[in-house]
Symmetry: C2
């Protein structure tokens, strides 16, 4: 399989490491605006050759678009116009509705598969790429009926080779669920970091007292704005909806404390504890 990787960061890099490790990929052309990333990707064996969009061979089997969602939305219509009829194009972005909408009347829409791996870390760049990142994780394929069957099959096989289970849903449903289960976690984590930085002016105290609990809850606050601003922007309505709910849930804790209603406080905690069996299903 001859592949182009557009965006040699955490997600695309981890994907190529795995597919190359399995011998499924013969050659990877890497495209990136960041020259240092291209160099690192080359050194780590994520890509085999540095390329540009205009120098990419026309007869590639697969193009993986692994760049921020606003850039992906800008690039994909043009990219789809320039590919051969046997090339499959996939993205790996965290929002899908705006992207699929911008492609819905594209003559080559069928060559595109909207793909979202439910894995990531707070780190970015090819340095952070890991071989077994996707193992046993879920991925979502959106609007699969709009992809050609051979293109869909290629991405389904790719997901299988990454060790992922595939869920199918519409782009609209995907963005709704992603707001609930992924995007809001990033906002709460960013806001928690800002809260602690605002209240705790002694940075050494943060460092010294930070427990595993704090580090875990605030971990996502290290995530890069170049990735996350466009996600929040494209999924604004859903994110605002769940953010409003979250503020209202926090107000319940506030009210329980202010009114010294410790029975209500316990109820709120007991309700939150219900997340344990849901996350720990067999």
């Amino acid at each position: 399989m001859r592949v182009a990787l557009i965006g040699t960061g955490l997600i695309g890099g981890s994907m190529m490491l795995r597919l190359k490790h399995q011998g499924l990929v013969d050659k990877v052309y890497g495209v990136d605006l960041n020259g240092l990333h291209l160099q690192t990707a080359l050194e780590r064996g994520i890509i085999d050759e540095i390329a540009t969009l205009s120098t990419l061979p026309k007869d590639l089997d697969l193009i993986v678009v692994a760049i921020p969602v606003d850039a992906a939305r800008g690039l994909l219509p043009e990219l789809l116009s320039s590919i051969s009829s046997t090339t499959t194009v996939m993205d790996v972005g965290s929002t899908k509705e705006a992207l699929t909408k911008s492609l819905e009347s594209h003559p080559n829409r069928g060559r595109f598969v909207a793909f979202h791996p439910m894995w990531g870390t707070e780190n970015s760049g090819p340095d952070s790429a890991q071989l077994d990142s996707f193992d046993s994780r879920a991925c979502v394929i959106c609007d699969s009926q709009d992809s050609d069957s051979d293109a869909l099959e290629k991405i389904e096989n790719l997901a299988k080779n990454l060790g992922m289970s595939v869920l199918y849903m519409s782009a609209k449903d995907h963005d709704l669920h992603a707001a609930y289960i992924s995007h809001i976690s990033h906002i709460t984590s960013y806001a928690l970091a800002n809260t602690v930085l605002e209240k705790e002016r002694e940075e050494d105290t943060i460092f010294q007292l930070a427990s595993s609990g704090f580090s875990s809850t605030v971990r996502l606050a290290k995530s890069h704005p170049d990735m996350w601003v466009p996600i929040f922007r494209q999924n604004k309505e859903n994110v605002l909806d769940v953010l409003n709910e979250h503020i209202s849930q926090l107000r319940k804790f506030k009210s329980a404390l202010e009114k010294e209603n410790y029975e209500l406080l316990e109820e709120l905690i007991v309700n939150a504890n219900r997340i344990r069996p849901i996350l720990e299903q067999d």
Copy 2:
């Protein structure tokens, strides 16, 4: 060293596993209201003998009080009245001001050391106890000037044997910093779980889509109310103060999104990113 462990849960259990592993403890008497916990603690070698408060030997070297902070506050005055002049008593609770205040005029105050290990998990009970829990973590000793020097030295040595670095502060400062760095993380995590449970009615979807990011941010929401309601109650003023700040930080994200002010959104994220170098100091 002959020790009594009052409360055979995660913290006390982990502590005894380590101290016994190092051969520093000859015998541990276990006291707990929960008979199953006592049985498990015995089977795991956390304790050597089941006891009750009234059957504990009088000449113990150390009594570790590892029960919820409201219960500790209720028990400690009486316990301190019943010990020999060579016994040291320590607690491991997450709040200190109410406790130390209730002991300030106690004739045996000097035998008590207020101790808080900055480690925990979302799990509780002796089943969850781990041998190397405290390694390379910080602990806080509060109001050390109020402890007898031999009692203080005993707990400092214990901390060293657990692999912990010791910070010293007043009980008042401790509770303030603990609210900022630990207690608020629990509230945000509980509220995030309640938000997702409220918005995402399809539990299977939560399970299937939950990424490592979501699991990490919501992890503390599994924590037991018996431990956390008393902590929030005893540290109400500080927790409310930081909770108000947190709601106001979330409102900034909301406002940036509503007004489509993506420069502000980016600023908020860049500011939050400052947590990375603080948490990753050498």
